[in-house]
């Protein structure tokens, strides 16, 4: 009834909506008359909740695509820009799909409703209600509109994909065009280049001299003051930083130090490179700044000055750095292990390479500023590649390497075969490529070799640093190590572990920092690298498998968090709730272990789902594994389950004295697979849990610690048995640890050969104290019997022994036996 009412209400509402919409449509139709189909579609579009926003998104995407197309058209020569645009286009494709995905639920709704309405009545069937026909028509129209929209999105997505592929193609072409452009290297070309060079140098000289003359004649004061001011700035910077960082720089007393630590060497290299370079940079930037502020610079001169200053800074940096790393004069401060002569000889080619590169760059910008002909660029690149090739080949002849046991002033050995061979090959290949006319390629490779080589040297130094940090005891020597030691009182081992972690961290840092640097150098764009890095951490796809590093890390994080939380809850419940409620230690242990297992399981599940692993596949895996469990892991699983049963049923708990088979001792720990039992000799026995479940286990301290203990007493027939029983009773009653209830009793157990056997049975509250009580009682019995003259309470030979001599000899064995509690207690309890 209720449902029917709902349906009616729905129908009325739909009818009303259709009516109003129809009115609106009719009102709109007063103006230019659209086709009835389009009218309905428009109505549907207006009525649909999802169409307008999706329409808006698509329009926006269309505009965006148009804009990107224009940009791509404008940036045909700019690789960096193209790489950025590619990322944007990919993003746009995703947006287009997202816009159409948003319409999907509505389409499903419409389909479901249409199914409810059913097919329109065929020929000869009674016509259906107008409301239903109207609604069907409206829904169909909306469906059509959505489909049309998705169709548009489809076309748009094709367009954007085309654009993306076009960008990739353009970039590829750009790359190969620049690199593989072939020029004929001929005498004519060279002579043309020489003529051009002569012309250009004249032009350069003219413009520089005219500028200098102008500056000197008309702007002398600003020119000189700019130079003076910038020199002042550099000087202040230099002096200030030397004062500030003097502890890090080389002191005179250290100069002769035998073996400075690697960190000292490294920090010296760092600061002695950084400070002069910074000072020079300060000089360069400030002089450029002052010159341009005082309007001394001319537009054609400004770039030349800027590049010259930059080149000087770069050259000095390279020289300082190689000087710091190779340290040709002070062998004990050398960062890499090369011979003295090798270090001196390596300096020259390194400087030469930097100089050639710098000059090439400088001349290039001068050419750009003066508008030199292309042939000069070609000739310059040609020359630079050949010189760099020669330098590389010359590097191969230097003999810098040392054996570990050789001193620094040894003559040195040649490079390892691989290095010298590759140097020779690279140099030769460069020259060959340049000579064969691929000047652009040769220049590119030369630059790559130099800069990649420099980066690799940095990586090598970084790796050396990491290695020296992780060396045993090295971290404690560093400033950070000393600080940690002082601040947190760390042990040597902890410091060593931190050092190891720091070493690994340095390795990771070196990788993270230098790999992108090398990639950038090789012509990859930042946008590309970002996209790769992003994909690397979010999804690594191998075939149809996707692994997400972020997901896995999140999973590990959540698991660790759950684990820590579990431990915390465990401790809290154990220490606060259960300790205060005076819960038995065994129960506490069981509950704690149980909470531990549950928490670990939950943390595992949370971690797995956070790692993006579908838990429903667990069923499949469990099914597959159960076979394996049935066969191979039977024992382990049975032990695990037994452990759980032990925790729940608690036939014994931690601290109990149990006997199982030949094993007897105290339970120390009940863990997943085995229970640790500590014997009286302090031997730990790991007993598999399933054994404890399947075999009979005796527990001395199960419900309570009450226990019975016996002492055998033997007296000769000369004694009065009643008196003996009475004395023994008195002795037992006198001992404070012997329970009154159940009361101790004495039984006359046997008529032995020549003597009567008695047994004193006592009960103690704590069976663990029985040994001590028995000891006390035996001593008391001996003393009482001696005082009362009853006779010795132990077997002895009567016939041929005088009483005076017998006593001391024969007490010994009996007392010695008293320490062995196990024998007597083993049969004490039934």
């Amino acid at each position: 009834m209720h449902r029917f009412g709902k349906l009616t209400a729905l129908l009325i509402a739909a009818w009303l909506a259709a009516l109003t919409l129809g009115e609106a449509g009719r009102a709109a139709a007063q103006q230019p008359q659209p086709t009835p189909q389009a009218e309905v579609a428009d109505q549907a579009a207006a009525a649909s909740p999802v169409l307008p926003p999706a329409e808006e998104q698509l329009k926006q995407a269309e505009r965006e695509l148009k804009r990107l197309m224009d940009h791509v058209e404008g940036a045909k020569e700019d690789d960096t820009r193209l790489a950025e645009l590619k990322v944007q286009v990919d993003e746009l494709s995703k947006q287009i799909i997202a816009a159409s995905v948003a319409t999907r639920p509505r389409l499903d709704e419409i389909k479901a409703r249409l199914d409810e309405l059913g097919e329109p009545p065929g020929e000869g069937q009674p016509p259906e209600a107008a409301v239903i026909a109207e609604e069907r028509k409206r829904l169909l129209a909306e469906r059509g509109a959505i489909n049309a929209l998705t169709g548009r999105a489809e076309n748009l997505s094709i367009e954007s994909k085309k654009l993306a592929n076009g960008i990739t193609a353009t970039r590829r072409a750009l790359f190969s065009n620049t690199l593989l452009k072939h020029t004929d290297v001929s005498a004519a070309m060279l002579s043309e280049a020489i003529t051009a060079t002569v012309d250009e140098s004249k032009a350069l000289w003219r413009s520089i001299s005219s500028w200098l003359t102008f500056a000197w004649n008309y702007k002398r004061v600003p020119f000189l003051s700019a130079i003076g001011l910038s020199l002042c700035a550099a000087l202040i910077f230099l002096v200030g930083s030397y004062r500030l960082f003097s502890p890090f720089l080389l002191r005179h007393e250290e100069e002769e130090e035998e073996e400075p630590t690697y960190f000292r060497q490294l920090s010296l290299a760092f600061w002695s490179t950084l400070i002069p370079t910074m000072a020079l940079t300060a000089f360069g930037t400030s002089s450029y700044f002052f010159l341009s502020t005082f309007n001394v610079l001319r537009p054609d001169i400004a770039p030349i000055i800027a590049v010259t200053l930059g080149m000087i800074v770069a050259l000095s940096f390279v020289t300082k750095l190689s000087n710091a790393v190779l340290s040709p004069k002070r062998s004990n401060w050398r960062l890499v292990r090369v011979s003295d002569r090798g270090a001196r000889r390596l300096m020259a080619p390194i400087f030469a390479m930097a100089l050639v590169n710098g000059l090439d760059y400088l001349l290039g910008s001068i050419g750009e500023a003066l508008g030199s002909p292309v042939v000069m660029t070609v000739a310059r690149s040609f020359l630079a590649s050949i010189i760099i090739g020669l330098i590389l080949m010359s590097l191969a002849w230097i003999r810098p390497t040392l054996r570990p046991d050789e001193p620094f002033d040894a003559p040195g050995r040649p490079w390892p075969r691989a290095i010298s061979l590759s140097l020779l090959l690279m140099g030769g290949a460069l020259i060959a490529i340049a000579l064969s006319g691929y000047v652009g390629l040769a220049r590119f490779i030369a630059t790559q070799i130099i800069i990649t080589g420099a980066i690799l040297v940095m990586v090598y130094i970084g790796v050396l640093t990491g290695r020296s940090v992780s060396k045993q005891g090295a971290f404690a020597e560093t400033i950070a190590g000393r600080y940690l030691e002082r601040r947190f009182n760390l042990e040597q081992v902890a410091l060593d572990q931190i050092g190891l972690a720091a070493g690994l961290g340095i390795y990771a840092l070196v990788l993270v920092f230098f790999i992108p640097l090398i990639l950038l150098q090789w012509g990859f764009q930042i946008a590309d690298i970002e996209a790769w890095a992003y994909r690397l951490v979010t999804e690594i796809r191998i075939g149809t498998i996707t692994i997400s590093l972020v997901g896995i890390l999140a999973g590990v994080f959540f698991f660790a968090f759950g684990f820590v939380a579990t431990r915390w809850v465990q401790r809290w419940i154990d220490g606060n709730i259960m300790a205060r409620s005076r819960v038995d230690a065994g129960v506490r242990n069981s509950i704690r272990t149980g909470i531990g297992y549950i928490g670990l399981g939950v943390a595992g599940l949370i971690g797995l789902s956070a790692a993006g692993i579908d838990l429903s596949s667990l069923a499949l895996v469990a099914g597959a594994l159960s076979l394996g469990v049935g066969f191979g892991l039977q024992n382990i699983v049975s032990n695990f389950v037994s452990g759980l049963i032990l925790l729940v049923e608690r036939p014994f708990k931690v601290g109990d004295w149990i006997v199982s088979g030949t094993t007897e001792g105290f339970v120390r720990r009940i863990s997943v697979r085995a229970t640790e039992i500590e014997t009286f000799q302090h031997q730990s026995i790991m007993m598999p849990n399933s054994l404890l479940i399947n075999a009979s286990v005796g527990n001395w301290t199960h419900r309570n610690k009450l226990g019975r203990s016996e002492i055998a007493v033997t007296v000769t027939y000369a004694s009065d048995p009643r008196r003996v029983i009475q004395v023994l009773d008195e002795i037992a009653a006198a001992h404070p640890k012997v329970l009154k209830n159940p009361a101790p009793n004495v039984s006359f157990t046997a008529f032995g050969d020549e003597r009567m056997n008695f047994e004193l049975r006592i009960y103690v509250a704590d069976v663990l104290t029985a040994g001590g009580v028995r000891n006390d009682l035996r001593v008391a019995i001996y003393e009482r019997f001696r005082d009362e003259g009853i006779g010795a309470p132990f077997p002895m030979k009567i016939e041929d022994v005088t009483p005076e001599a017998a006593l001391p000899e024969e007490t010994d064995p009996s007392i010695a036996r008293g320490g062995d509690g196990r024998e007597r207690n083993g049969r004490g309890r039934s």
Partner: protein, 87 residues
């Protein structure tokens, strides 16, 4: 025990991480989907009862009944009476 957990973990990792949209044809006859992925428009025939993996990185699909839908690439779909139902 640790080995068991490791094995469990690895196998779950492998079994769970399949990617792409899954489409299952529940109809009695072969369904033809038009899939637009990248620059190309292609027709994919799915046999009755068969399951196929399509478009790993987002695409548009035209169902046999003419409906068009956009897919992000991780959906599971069924073809029932010529129309595509996304689960």
């Amino acid at each position: 025990m640790r080995t068991v957990f490791a094995a469990l973990f690895c196998s779950m990792l492998i079994s769970s991480a399949a990617e792409g949209a899954m489409v299952t044809n529940k109809d009695g006859e072969t369904a033809v989907l038009v899939i637009v992925e990248g620059e190309s428009r292609m027709e994919v025939a799915i046999d009755a009862g068969a399951t196929e993996m399509i478009c790993p990185s987002g695409c548009f699909v035209t169902a046999p009944n003419g409906d068009r839908i956009g897919l992000q690439g991780e959906e599971t779909m069924e073809i029932v009476n010529g129309s595509v139902i996304v689960k």
